[in-house]
Amino acid sequence: MKNTISQRVADFLKNFPPFNFLEQAEIEILAEKVSIIYKEKGAVIFEENEETHDSFYVVHKGAIELRKKSKNNILDMCDEGDIFGLRPLIALENYKMEATAHEESILYAIPITIFKPYAIKNANVGNFVIDSFASNTHNPYSKSHSGKLYGNTFDDENNADEIIDNDNKILDLQPIKYSKKIITCSRAATAKEIAKIMTKKNVGAMLVVEDMLPIGIITDKDLRNKIVTGDYSINTTADVIMNSPVITYSKKMTITQAQMAMMKSNISHLCLTKDGTANTKAVGILSKHDVMVALGNNPAVLIKALKRVKKVKAIKPIRAKIMQLLQGYLNQNIPITLTSKIITELNDACIQRVIELSLAKMSTPPPVRFSWLALGSQGRSEQLLHTDQDNALIYEDVPEEKEEKTRKYFLELAAIVNKGLFEIGYEYCPAEMMASNPKWCLSLNQWKQTVHDWISKPGKDEVLLSFIFFDYSLSYGDQELANELADYIFGDIESNPIFYVHLVSGALQSPSPTGFFRQFLVEQDGAHKDFFDVKRRALMPLADAARVLILSHRIKGISNTPERFEKLAELEPQNKELYLSCAYSYKALLKFRTKQGLLHHDSGQFIELEALTKLEKVKLKATFKTIKELQEVISMRFNPGKINI
């Protein structure tokens, strides 16, 4: 029976092949038979060799990974709108791969008996199904090029496995994403006009068209070589300086094909047309940059890609590439300091882009200056994996009559930014430490008042908040506001020395990593029973101690924990060895956590001890000794035993 939900399902399906080949009424009938399935992260949809279900699946939300158990290699990742588990249903064989939820997912299960008549009746649908037979991936279009790249065809799965084993650049097999917004001009346009438009639209090439058909192309290089050199006047028309005829290709192009085409003709832009010849309408432009992004394993390319992004949603795939980059760095054993610097830089760029795009959504520009702050681990540039968002906002002081309006503006902005960050993979902070929370979106003076309250009347909660907030760094906006607040904090702490004692006492309260017999202490209950909490028991004690010590030396501008220890080693030669060992331990732990997180696709906070090698356990324990020594040093120095909190 037709109902509100099935209509919504139909609205979704009609955007994706093969459903887009069906009539609206047909999709609606199909949608009424759908089951909606919710899968937690890590849940299995079907196992290898399992008997087939009576439905195949379409991903509505989330992501599903397909893998061969024996190889432990991800063969394919299915995203929103992708189909999986169809081939075995048609071929009447058991599942050849295992499907698990890579993240929390919602699936539409479509009964094969309902779908099959359409596959037989409708040629387009049928072709899609046949294509997906020949291909191993969810998207049959990727099959055409695979053979050319690896000198092999994607005929069966065994072959596919070999290909992947030889080279894990499976991403190359994806069809390329090209720019559909084509910037065009007529043959009469002048070089000056063209350059202006290209600058405004931030593109590297302009297509010259006549009667809707491409007749030539002008790139940055042409403008440089022909106009800037003075060979032609700035008022030369397009037809004189354009490259003609245009080299055109079909839009069903793959990354590898595109790369080869560019190399072959030594050009940086390809024009994609409807049928691949210059006699049909242009549908897109593919630049060398697009190819680079698709291959994307270099930070500069990713940063450039971020700058060009027009929608928050488009940042998510870039974030996935950042994670690949991280994995690569760890595999190659690149120093964690360097790794975290690069990854932090990239993560910051993502956040900045989200804020820029959010600002563009506001009806007016910000009424006054503001700073967007990253708190906690992100503020310390130690956040490598996807974690919760912790952020806050400072805006410039305004006269009282404008306060309410200003505050409203920034709260609205913060809500958009928080939602955007959520969309690109930063979970909402469960403790609501987010700028959209009215408590953490304040004017500079209100912030000063807030931190003054913490510093002058420190209780347990105030110390905890100080821990989170005093490690902030600027993500976006005005540096001065952020600095002014930092200066205020330092000044205020100096006049309230008792605050150190509270900070130290707080820093010593982290739970001990080992028990009396030097055994690991694991979580006693809850979801992580018998797991070791590397964040609370090992990383936090070090970060907390570093903060106290660095504050007591009145050093500002260093928020990264290892860097703080390195600075401390300089300042206190008598403890140099200990501090350097702390810096080393922290890096080792961070790397450890990051590896665990990548392995399990989570924050890496909880470690399964059984899965560790003997060597890893020894390494982990070695860091605990350092933590203990450090805690002794600070507890001697500040003597927190004097107070009770």
């Binding site: 109902n3 099935s6 038979k33 089951s35 919710y38 809850g526 979801a527």
Partner: protein
């Protein structure tokens, strides 16, 4: 409550005894049939206002079958123009209208002995019970869960945080990133409630080794 029951209850409160009194609740979440429902009404008055539409879906082991969606509109005598604007249901707009008693009977069959889940369940269940009473039918005896209440249990308890007293379905949809396109249609709201319920279950699961139905009724 007998002395024995009281004794068992006090043991449970102390956390000594894990077995619930009600055997109906001693089953796994996966094997439970939940009916997630929402009603659209002419207003918020339990006695004067009437149900315009009952929307419900069945959730079993994480699966919602769209062939088994309950969406029935009720013919109205009592009619309040102001609520039409909220719900967008105009009398002649929907062809398929049934009498109140017909829809109620269909709903009772659909519901069976399932556990009811709704957002602010008390409102919907009271509206349905009052309608049943008017038609000389017995009240619902099903176990009820409320996503507004369950959601609060997922929140971190800390004196640094001030939680709201009431969370609307819109709040939940925002927190859990659920599309609000069909908001204010009975089935649309039931669907949002169902997804929110699933996400709440996932959050609560972390607190128990194997979550049973009775854990939700604490």
């Amino acid at each position: 409550m007998s002395l024995k029951e009281k004794f068992i209850q006090s043991l449970q409160i102390l956390g000594i005894l894990e077995v619930p009194i009600d055997e109906r609740l001693n089953c796994s979440i996966e094997s439970t049939r939940f009916v997630i429902l929402d009603t659209e009404t002419t207003g918020f008055n339990y006695t004067d206002d009437r149900i315009l539409c009952i929307g419900a879906i069945v959730l079993e082991n994480g699966v919602i079958d769209l062939q088994n969606v309950f969406e029935h509109y009720i013919d109205q005598e009592h009619f309040d123009k102001s609520s039409v604007q909220i719900h967008g249901i105009i009398r002649s707009d929907v062809l398929d209208h049934k009498s109140e008693i017909e829809v109620l009977q269909l709903f009772i069959d659909y519901l069976g002995d399932s556990v009811i889940v709704a957002h602010h369940t008390k409102f919907d269940v009271t509206m349905i019970n009052n309608a049943l009473e008017r038609n000389g039918l017995p009240k619902l005896t099903n176990k009820c869960l409320d996503t507004a209440v369950l959601y609060k249990r997922t929140l971190i308890k800390s004196n640094l945080l001030q939680h709201k007293d009431h969370y609307t379905l819109d709040d939940l949809a925002d927190k859990f990133d659920i599309s609000k396109k069909d908001r204010h249609t009975a089935v649309g709201d039931a669907y949002i409630t169902a997804i929110a319920f699933l996400k709440i279950l996932k959050k609560l699961k972390g607190k128990h080794e194997k979550m049973m139905l009775y854990h939700l009724f604490r």
